[in-house]
Amino acid sequence: MTGETWGRAFAKLPDIARALLVGAVTTIQVTIGALIVAILLGVLFAVLKTAPSRALRTVASVYVEVFRAVPVLTQLFVIYFGLAGIGIRLNPLPAAIIGFGINGGAYLTEVFRAGLEAIHQGQFEGAFSIGMTRPMAMWYIILPQAVRVVLPPIGNFAIGLLKDTSIASAVAAPELMFRARSLVEATFLSTQIYLMVAVLYLAMSLPLSRAVRRLEAAMGRGHQA
């Protein structure tokens, strides 16, 4: 019985592969979209979290705590099904990008905050002593240095995000996992198809992992005081 399914699988290989590849492209699209949203939100809330105003800090803390304690799947469901229930209908793809973006923003807030705090306090004092305001110091002195510190964690986050987009299949976003599930329903070749899916994810994530590892090595060298 199993031998027969492998035979069928090989016969249909080109069609299956093509369908899965389309899904993989969507996966990359969702990843990039959500990454951008997450970075923007992360920077925003990291700045808020280190602001002098207590109210702003609390708002940022609440955002981080809530969106890191609740699973992404639940957040996606709130955005896709919950909003639809009160009249706001989103397409699965934008819903996924927004959902992963907001969730990722909470995670990246902590990354950026740590990056900002890693920049020696003396840099701030130096900036202030030559007459810069706080926003100016941020823009010209602190943030450029923080970017270096923060690049490897962002890279690792991106890899995690790539894999997490598989969850978007639950709200029918047409990414890799969703395509796979549809194909399995049509062909019943579950073992073969999910193995191919695993291979595709590996093909996408392993190069990224290697790039991040090289980035981490490069950042380790030439570390300033």
Binding site: T2, A69, V70, T74, F77, K163, T191, L195, A198, Y201
Partner: protein, 207 residues
Amino acid sequence: MPQLLVAAQGTLRMTAAAFTIAATVGLLFGLARLSRHRLLSRFAVGYIEVVRGTPALTQLFLIYFGLPGVGIVLRAFEAAVIGLGLNGAAYLAEVYRAGIQAIHRGQREAAYSLGMTHLDAMRYIILPQAVRVVLPPMANYAIALLKDTSIASLISAPELMLRARDLSSEYFMPMRLYLLTGLMYLVMAYPLSRIVRFLEDRLSHGR
């Protein structure tokens, strides 16, 4: 809603079971990764790279839908526990490896110079110290695992998210329902994250 509370118990049970598997199997792979036997460490590296390079959801689907193709049929809960456990094992293996390697090499050499075998050095000197280093990341992983159990709903394993989805087709108030679900995860996860922060503070003293 009481039904959600019952389902949350399933979530906690799944988390505990998967964490146990991940912690023990992960330790095996972590030690294998550091082994001097090249075949063993290569095998461990391969396992870790593959499992960490693919989504947990795909792994769950392979175990639940794919294994029947080779004759192994599992119930959803078991498949989820095994899948999440094996996935976590790959992640924790790296945590263990980093923890063990963080213990100063001098400790190992001192142990050898006292005549201990590799195994004794591990048991009596390295691992006890590594435990301190490894506890915060493991606790953080436990929190992430709690949230990842929601994925098991997609293979119909009995936990919180699945029950929420079922109820949403009964009650037609998806927003309120899923917000309530989110709140329940918050209630489960937040105390854990406070404990983790406490652990991180306590364990970083006396460094």
